[in-house]
Amino acid sequence: MSDRTALLTRRRATLLTVAVLLCLPPFYLDAFWLRIGLFSLAAAIGATGLALLSGTAGQLSLGHAFFLAVGAYGYTWLAGDPGPGLPTALAVPLAVLMAGLAGGLFSPVAGRVKGIYLGIATLALVFLGHHVLLTAESVTGGFNGRSVPPLSLGGFTFDAGDELTVLGVPFGAEERLWFLGLALFAVTWFTARGLLRSRPGRALAALRDSETAAAVMGVDVARHRSAAFVVSSMYAGLAGVLLALAFRRVVPDYFSLVLSVDYLAMIVIGGLGSVAGATAGAVFVTALPLLMTRYADQLPLVAAPGSAEGAVGPTEAARYLYGAAIVLVLLYAPDGLHGLARRSRDRLRRRRSPTSDPASAVPSPSPPAAAARPKEHTL
């Protein structure tokens, strides 16, 4: 038992250290870096939601941008004018619930369409959502979008308004929002890991690995698929709120299919199915283009933004890199991801010692030894 206490103490100490370290940036880094950090935190929250859905439950979604939009626009409308003009602190949880509700409305599809096929169905959300954002001008502001009211918590406003100096450092919007982002990310980390390590998380992983095994063990398949979708939408909604606060303006074109694909890239690159992986992927995909833009003049083969037509700009360069990263990760490190709809049978086929070379990680097309075991028609 003392072992366990020691472990727990050590874990707490690590957690505390990380928390303290994460509180430091506003005192040492300028707004550019804080913005990268802030966008990364928002992306990490959203990516965690997608990791739960696609990585753990094995349900592909390309509709994540839609739920980010529901969160972002939901907050803006709820707290703004036109809109009910609710207190901003109330608008945040309500916007998250709105995103969850939107996910719930989609559950007749999300509960019954499985795996990669859900990917196509969710395309509809992105395109229809984008259309609504453009059309419902009274709510969304149409093509030009809306400005986002800053969040106010008990008299403290997360913007550059009133002057605030902490330990000799002027606290503008970025510094303040950093701490908000950190708090929301902590909530995400705590809840998502709680989910993954308990009954619902195990049920979702079972669904991904074998729907039949999950069902005969008592898992209500459709209900869990729907629930995973709702939970994932709520994390996306939360990320949307944070993004809206960081951007200070929401516009429809941001919430396009490209954004959905970015989120998918995050969880694939990070290794599907874990919160830490999703976070790492989120930082990579978010920070890469921003960093490349900043340092374009020092990078070979990358032209500064706005230079000659047809040159490879930093945004393009970043997209080449992470597009290629998806391909390479999936083809050469398939064990880095926890697999969409992986069947445990596949593990049997790819059974190998941990030290074997990466080439053998690719499933062999030849009938493996397992297939030679007694076998009758299985459903």
């Binding site: 049920a203 992983a205 690995d209 069902a215 063990m217 992986r342």
Partner: protein, 267 residues
């Protein structure tokens, strides 16, 4: 926690079950009754419909005709997870474990017996944590019972074949089943592993008093464990009786002619 095993399990009755796939009749008027607390073996050559029968029993496959009742409950119209909740657990012919540790797999078996939902788990509410602790303790007991105690926290993927096969058995037991469906529990195992599993199944039956339906090619195991045997051939029941009666039945000998009666060839 497992009060439902303290009473004798209800009778499982299969009546005139017929299953067709795209014009093929996989099961044709199959009937048998599993007496409470008995071991009932289902044998027959490959393709005889044994696994299809299991799929009907666990709700994965809906029969074109016939009924399956457990006590007074009709099972054929229930979804698989509802049947599981009634205490019918099964293992698969090909190992179907999920990723993660042995503990993760066994805790999946506790799914129907636990309540913690998404919200309680996400917020790590005390009730959900206590429930997880209690059921983890029971899962550990079952791991000990099935000889997996030493591997409780090991990733399933790293275990040898026989152990993984036993993880499935342990996972099914975690459901605290009243009826246990075992689909070739010793297929592909070596002699020592077979003996160990046979021993475990025997102990289970003695200790927990549950009914077992067994599909197995290993005739030695069937003869040793089964109280009653039903023989299927091309989806039709061709014989029924005690292991000794069935072994002498001329129909059975004919069905098995040309195939290896022990099924060892396939393993």
């Amino acid at each position: 926690m497992n009060d439902r095993t303290t009473t004798a399990p209800p009778e499982l009755a299969v009546r005139d079950v017929t299953v067709r796939f795209a014009g093929l009749t996989a099961l044709d008027g199959v009937s048998f009754t599993v007496a409470p607390g008995s071991v009932h073996a289902l044998i027959g050559p490959n393709g005889a419909g044994k696994s299809t029968c299991f799929n009907v029993l666990s709700g994965l496959c809906r029969p074109a005709a016939g009924t399956v009742t457990l006590g007074g409950t009709e099972l054929t119209r229930l979804a698989p997870h509802r049947i599981a909740a009634l205490g019918v657990a099964r293992t698969f012919q090909n190992i179907v474990t999920t990723q993660g540790t042995v503990a993760d797999n066994l805790m999946l078996g506790r799914h129907a017996l636990t309540r913690a939902g998404f919200t309680a788990s996400a917020l790590r509410l005390p009730g959900a944590r206590r429930e997880q602790r209690e059921h983890l303790a029971r899962a550990r007991e079952i791991a000990e019972l099935t000889g997996l105690g030493a591997h409780f926290d090991a990733p399933v993927g790293l275990l040898p074949y026989g152990d993984r096969k036993r993880v499935e058995l342990a996972r099914a037991l975690c459901l605290e089943p009243r009826v246990l469906l075992l689909d070739e529990p010793v297929a592909g195992m070596n002699a020592a592993e077979r003996a160990r599993t046979a021993e475990v199944v025997g102990e289970l039956r003695a200790e927990l008093g549950l009914s077992v339906v067994l599909v197995e090619h290993d005739m030695g195991l069937v003869m040793r464990l089964a109280d009653e045997v039903t023989v299927l051939d091309f989806g039709r029941p061709i014989a029924h009786g005690t292991p000794d009666e069935v072994r002498r039945d001329p129909e059975v000998l004919r069905a098995y002619l040309g195939t290896d009666a022990t099924g060892e060839d396939a393993a």
